[in-house]
Amino acid sequence: MIDSIAYPLANLLLLFYNFLGHQTVIAIAALTILIRLLILPLTLGQQKSARKMQELQPKIAKLQKKYGKDKERLTQEQMKLYKEAGINPMGGCLPLLIQFPIMFGLYRAIMYCVPTTPLQLFQFSQHIYKWLPGVVGLVPLQSAFLGMDLGRPPTMAQWWSYALPALVLATSWLQQKLLTPPAAGDDQSQSGMMNQQMQIMMPLMFGLMSLQFATGLSVYFIISNLIGIAQFYLVRVNRGGEGTRASSSSD
């Protein structure tokens, strides 16, 4: 299943590698940009949803005052409010969830192109699109980057490689913070708690995965997160400073 995503991604990686100076990190960056472009409608929808959520914050605060002691009623009223506004409170999670199969596919694609075990490489040998220009003889791609091996997890021998999981954690947190609707006051509703957990758990999860997986995947995470952050600010500028976080009272 994942291989049906991984093989095309791996071949795209080879193509970018061939045309972008035989630099593995640049090829991963190019592939990341392409993936971000493909999921752009989703991420823009996420930002739109977050903005609407922010606009509802005064109303949510009022509901909290009114039904603060009755959690069940509060949740019902909030859901009603969201429904009227045409917002799915879990809509912010969708781009993240859709990224999971792509992420695992890309991870496997990197492991095929910068393999650490011969079985991975042998498996991929049957799935190279030889009709793509210049891909014959490319595999395995150059794996060295700043003294690290892009096909292996961070190691103590290259202690600086642990900077990558740290950067993944930081950029994931920032992106999550920007794209998650701010909570209204002491929002104890389901979606409010879930969003608060997401802000912590998702970056933590990506950081932990970066510790265990090939550093090439960390490169993807970091570039993808930076693009997400840049996208947030670009959309905000285009809307004349009206951003999700710009005037958040909860920060």
């Binding site: 991870y107 650490t116 075990t117 011969p118 079985l119 991975q120 042998f122 040998s125 049957q126 030889k130 014959v136 003889g137 595999v139 395995p140 150059q142 794996s143 060295a144 091996d149 292996r152 997890p153 190691t155 103590m156 021998a157 389901q190 708690m193 879930m194 957990q197 997401m198 912590i200 758990m201 998702m202 933590l204 999860m205 932990l208 995965m209 510790l211 265990q212 997986f213």
Partner: protein, 376 residues
């Protein structure tokens, strides 16, 4: 929707990620990441057989010794590489998996007493995995590593003699002839190094990675590469004599007999090529992925090729005719070994690890470990 689940699902994702990390997504020891390697010397067959190194009696497949005796308790790691035998010792390598987020796997070369499997020395100075075995000559053991280095160790003591750095992973077994080491690297180069000090004699450049062992005939080396070509290279000068195009990578090492070179590509094509001119003599598609190179009988009359489908194919060298093939439920990714009237092949993910078959008709002599009736 259930409220408690709503609250907990991000936490559940973290747990899922941790489970995935621990379950072999990073290439842990639970599943083979490479293949069993075989070497036959005299009446003994040595195999780096995942959990253990085993020495078997070639007559009946009975174990003579194993290392370690208790794989679970001793935790020596996973053994893959083809054992090198010489100077009274068997030299293998293993990878001991790391545990936890900050513990890295350790890759170790082990020299074992060929008679009883006891440890003579070990070397853990490399930073990457050993994929293929090394070669012994003149008291020196030479092996490539995924850290991009070629290591030369003293066979007696395990002391490091020299290290040669290449530009990529080294997954090929070297060929040592007199005082020269010929070894290919994933950096697309075939190196000729001085055995005594690792100094470069010459370098041959291809357009794809080298992961196989060259074979020498007279003064010509034959070796395949990941650019889908089989090369003939002048062994003295390192210059190209001819190149032969295949359909896909040449991963397994070729063999040569008289005036013919036999090679396989990973698409499962077996080629017989004129050693002088590089012209194709015959071509036999097996229609199954083939990782390893062929093995040849002593009289050069028959070839053996293992397929990913677990089948061992016998081919006549005269015309590629297939007199027999023998199926298995595993994967035959190692180069078979022929010794006298018997061919030995190793399997992964199958009911047994090693089997011995008669060269003439493919009838089974023995299998190791023996398959228990009803458990196959």
């Amino acid at each position: 929707m259930d409220q408690s689940w709503m609250r907990r699902w991000p936490s559940a994702l973290v747990v899922l990620a941790l489970l995935l990390s621990a379950s072999g997504c990073t290439g842990g020891a639970a599943q083979p990441t490479s293949w069993t390697g075989l070497t036959v010397v005299g009446e003994r067959l040595y195999a780096a057989d995942l959990e253990q190194v085993v020495a078997l009696n070639v007559a009946d497949g009975s174990p003579l010794w194993t290392f370690p005796d208790d794989p679970e308790g001793e935790k020596r790691g996973v053994f893959h590489v083809t054992p090198a035998v010489g100077g009274g010792c068997v030299i293998v390598a293993s990878q001991v998996p790391g545990g936890g987020f900050f513990s890295q796997p350790r890759d170790i070369v082990w020299a074992l007493d060929a008679d009883n499997g006891s440890i003579l020395w070990h070397f853990d100075g490399a930073a990457g995995q050993y994929v293929e075995g090394g070669a012994i000559s003149g008291g020196v053991f030479v092996i490539g590593n995924s850290d991009g280095n070629i290591y030369a160790l003293d066979v007696e003591s395990g002391a490091l003699r020299w290290v040669f750095e290449t530009g990529h992973r080294v997954w090929a077994t070297p060929l040592i002839v007199s005082d020269i080491v010929y070894i290919g690297s994933m950096d697309r180069r075939l190196y000729a190094l001085d055995l005594s000090d690792g100094e470069v004699r010459w370098v041959f450049y291809a357009e794809g990675a080298f992961a196989s062992t060259p074979v020498l005939r007279d003064d010509t080396l034959y070796i395949g590469a990941f650019d889908d070509r089989l090369y003939a290279v002048d062994a003295l000068m390192g210059t190209e004599r001819w190149r032969f195009p295949g359909e896909n990578w040449f991963w397994g090492g070729p063999v040569v007999y008289d005036h013919t070179v036999y090679a396989t590509d990973v698409n499962g094509n077996v080629y017989a090529v004129d050693a002088e001119t590089g012209e194709q003599i015959w071509h036999k598609p097996l229609d199954v992925p083939v990782r390893a190179g062929p093995a040849l009988t002593g009289d050069g009359s028959r070839l053996f090729v293992g397929g990913q489908n677990g089948t061992l194919y016998a081919l006549d060298t005269a015309d590629g005719f297939m007199p027999w093939s023998r199926e298995s439920e595993g994967q035959a990714l190692s180069t078979p070994v022929v010794s006298g009237p018997v061919v030995y092949d190793a399997q992964i993910n199958g009911p047994y690890r090693i089997r011995a078959l008669y060269v003439d008709n493919g009838r089974e002599v023995w299998a190791y470990p023996p398959v228990v009736e009803g458990q196959e």
